[in-house]
Symmetry: C2
């Protein structure tokens, strides 16, 4: 038994299902920055995250990104469920935020288990629920917050999933994720530093006021 599987999913699934997952699922490790799912991909597998974190992005018609949310261990990507069910293309991009370990479950099994295991059905529905809430939170963030607040929230979320208040990134990277320009990010970061919320160094941002 993969130890992490037991740890993060053991309380959700009965032993029989855990064994099936281990037997049938494909274990995989991907490095930071790896694109797990891209927009337009047909999804044949559903990922269960064992460790690490993944950021989920939406793309505009010019090919520029916007972050929706991060997912972590114990999570799955409800979007993939959606796509598997409907046999449609992915609407989102999923990129490893850190080095990430996961188990891939083939679609057919996913469907089969919906009927076979009540705990799996609950998990899938629960995942939908969680993701729906995440999407609503993303909407709140985009629609109701100003850019400086969005930036701070982004940094805090990033610190959270990385379990490190020293964030390794560039202003350009942040600008991509927030769908704005590098200059705007630099300007607001400077303001946050002046307000003693963060400390800036090249390639690094330290969150002071977490």
């Amino acid at each position: 038994m993969i130890e992490a599987l037991k740890r993060y999913y053991g309380y959700l699934f009965e032993d029989e299902l855990l064994e099936e997952i281990e037997k049938i699922g494909v274990y995989r490790e991907v490095p930071e920055g790896f694109t797990l799912i891209d927009i337009g991909d047909y999804i044949k597998n559903m990922p269960l995250i064992l460790s690490g974190a993944v950021k989920v992005l939406r793309e505009d018609d010019k090919g520029d990104d916007l972050i929706l949310y991060f997912i972590e261990q114990g999570d799955t990507c409800a979007m993939t469920i959606t796509c598997c069910m409907g046999d449609t293309k992915s609407e989102i991009r999923a990129v490893a935020e850190t080095d990430t370990k996961l188990i891939m479950i083939p679609v057919q099994k996913m469907q089969e288990w919906m009927h076979k295991y009540k705990s799996w059905q609950s998990f899938v529905l629960q995942s939908y629920h969680e993701r729906m809430k995440e999407l609503l939170e993303a909407i709140d963030t985009i629609a109701f917050l100003k850019m400086d607040e969005r930036l701070l929230k982004y940094l805090r979320d990033k610190a959270m999933v990385n379990r490190d208040d020293l964030i390794h990134t560039t202003h350009q990277e942040i600008a991509h994720d927030l769908h704005t320009s590098r200059v705007v990010v630099s300007r607001l970061l400077k303001k946050l530093e002046t307000d003693n919320k963060i400390k800036l160094q090249r390639n690094n941002i330290k969150i002071v006021d977490l």
Copy 2:
């Protein structure tokens, strides 16, 4: 058999389920402007829309609204499923856009049918999928479009669900739905009129270029 039930859901559900829906569901008519679900409500029923349209709104911390999308006949509100499952409060507000006819299904039945009828399970999952896509489209609109484009899209969507290119509303109403100010709406509407996309009269907006 309620005629509309057969018409909009007949191709989805087997006869046995349709009969159960008719026997157990509560038929209801609500007038335009009626709040079907409010934020914080505990949901005990899931609505199936037979005719009319409903607008789904999100609220900011000051109590101001933002429209997410419209739903129509043949649709249900996936948010309610979410809430029923998790026994949590509603995250959204649902207001009748026009006079609306619907059937309310009690939560218990909803759960029961998930196991009993495959077509119901598919419908619920399909609804999740649809709503997820609507939420993503809402995000695209809010994040990627400028206010004038959002306004035009809003007017077109409204004309669509009302099946009428003459929209009966006020600038203030629109401002609420788009989470901006009346002055901004008036300004942009004037611009759209100048560009021959719409015609303005008091309490009415005629869409020219649909």
